[in-house]
């Protein structure tokens, strides 16, 4: 049996990394993910893991070293936030293109400028096209559980893609919660030993990785990479089921709360989804047919499953904790609406951009959004669907 203990989100992730005991962690600390690296570095110096910890000079170097270590045949993990993730940008695409199963915990934080250390999803959303799987956790328990599942998903031979384990900066990373930490041996057994595919250190079987690739083959290679993602979505669901069977917590691709008969529903990522659950329960007790779709897996984007889950709703609000400057709407809204449209689900949808730079959102604001959806339900799709909640006019 596992042990329930009070842990911050960051320390819950560090515990998962200690139990996984990766071969290489090459990291450069940045708020609010610093504690993950700091705590894990202590595990290394205390001899609790066998990990080769590489103290690099930047995040660009961190992800370069991680990608190379994975190509060499190692099990590799890392953590970062915001500007640190931005500095990894070039290498993020390369990690995914080379199909290296690196696991990176992203403690979501606003990108500069101006300088802000608090939570929003601009960092993760900015990396959405890089080819990494992205899983968003609601709380410290999910940060721990998703970190463990991430390594299993990434390393599956039918996936072979890097995974971002995303948790909200400060709201999850620095908040103490009761977390069920499983036994070390149980986690090691569940994850299993790593069997690298074609490690570069296998000098008896050399091959060519990352060569020049111009108009003649690059497009075929990208098309081949694209073909990996639908299968990865199935693999995430399978690993979730396997994790649930072993430890009793199964998450699937998304969590549907009271959606089956909901008239009005919201879609949210991360910690905000937790507050939405309370609001939905409160509204249900007052007779409002409210529902929530907590999206866990943003990449690959489960458009079919989202359309299926929302198809009976009469009005939907999508919560975006990131702006997409110059775009018609926030990134999550754009993808949800495109997914609904392409599946023949035409229901009025609004976009709620909120919480940028750690701006607090409160239950009464979420309740007001549900209340507005009652109006949208009868008036139909608004021409300008984007609103900003929590910003001073």
């Amino acid at each position: 049996m596992g042990q329930v203990m009070p842990l911050e989100g960051n320390n819950a992730v560090a515990e998962a990394m200690r139990q996984i005991n990766p071969d290489v962690v090459a990291a450069y600390p940045i708020t609010p993910s610093t504690e993950i690296v700091q705590t894990f570095a202590k595990f290394v110096s205390d001899g609790k893991v066998h990990t080769n910890f590489v103290a690099v000079e930047s995040e660009h170097s961190a992800m370069s070293a991680c990608t190379a270590a994975a190509a060499a045949g190692g099990r590799v993990m890392n953590a970062t936030s915001a500007n640190g993730l931005a500095l990894m940008w070039e290498i993020l695409y390369i990690t995914a293109s080379l199909r290296q199963p690196v696991v990176l915990t992203v403690v979501n934080r606003a990108l500069s400028g101006n300088i802000n250390i608090h939570c929003d999803h601009s960092d993760g959303m900015g990396a959405r096209d890089s080819g990494w799987i992205q899983i968003y956790g609601e709380n410290a328990q999910e940060g721990y559980d998703n970190c463990i599942q991430a390594i299993a998903i990434a390393e599956r031979e039918d996936v072979r893609l890097p995974v971002m384990n995303c948790i909200d900066g400060f709201l999850v990373s620095h908040a103490y919660e009761m977390v069920e930490v499983e036994e070390d041996q149980a986690i090691q057994d569940w994850v299993g030993p790593y069997k690298p595919v074609r490690p570069l250190l296998d000098i008896e079987n050399p091959y060519t990785m990352g060569p020049l690739d111009l108009w003649d083959y690059y497009f075929e290679h990208k098309r081949s990479q694209i073909s990996a993602y639908p299968g990865a979505l199935d693999a995430i669901a399978e690993e979730s089921k396997r994790f649930g069977d072993a430890f009793g917590r199964e998450y699937g691709l998304m969590e549907c709360v009271e959606l089956e008969d909901a008239d009005v529903a919201v879609v949210a990522l991360g910690s905000t989804a937790g507050m939405c659950k309370d609001v939905v329960a409160d509204l249900r007790s007052k007779g409002v047919k409210a529902g929530l779709l907590k999206l866990r897996v943003f990449r690959p984007f489960p458009a079919t499953q989202i359309a299926q889950a929302l198809k009976n709703c009469k009005a939907v609000a999508v919560f975006d904790r990131a702006a997409s400057f110059g775009a018609a709407s926030g990134p999550l809204y754009s993808e949800v609406v495109a997914g609904l449209y392409s599946h023949g689900v035409q229901i009025p949808c609004v976009d709620v951009i909120y919480g940028l730079g750690g701006r607090e959102i409160r239950p009464e604001q979420i309740a007001a959004i549900f209340s507005d959806l009652e109006g949208v339900k009868s008036s139909g799709q608004p021409k300008d669907p984007v609103s900003y909640v929590g910003v001073r006019e």
Binding site: L98, E220, S224
Partner: protein, 106 residues
């Protein structure tokens, strides 16, 4: 083209995951000489065979046979015309000439 690399008409389903070439040691088959704007030309009488050009060539375009530089450029299929050899040469026996002056197919 060697049979070790993909056929010219290979489709995306033929590609190994990760954009790899499943064999090693095939960079030689990728000809980069077409990028060249300037071509190195050596004055054989001035060359002292110090092999600095061979050491510094970022590709493998300069070959050494019996401890002597075997012509500059030895390999026009891979020389990109960067001029490092001309720059490093202590006796300045390598001149970079505009590629358009040459009529051969390289």
């Amino acid at each position: 083209m060697s049979d070790r690399v993909y056929a010219k008409d290979a489709g995306w389903k033929d590609m190994a995951p990760g954009g790899i070439i499943p064999q090693a040691g095939n960079a030689e088959e990728y000809h980069t000489g077409g990028w060249r704007t300037f071509r190195p030309v050596r004055d054989d009488d001035k060359c002292i065979n110090c092999l600095q050009c061979w050491i510094y060539c970022p590709d493998n375009a300069i070959k050494v046979i019996d401890q002597k530089v075997a012509g500059i450029p030895y390999d026009l299929d891979h020389c990109k015309g960067c001029g490092v050899c001309a720059d490093i040469c202590p006796v300045k026996c390598i001149e970079m000439k505009v590629e358009a002056e040459f009529e051969d197919e390289h």
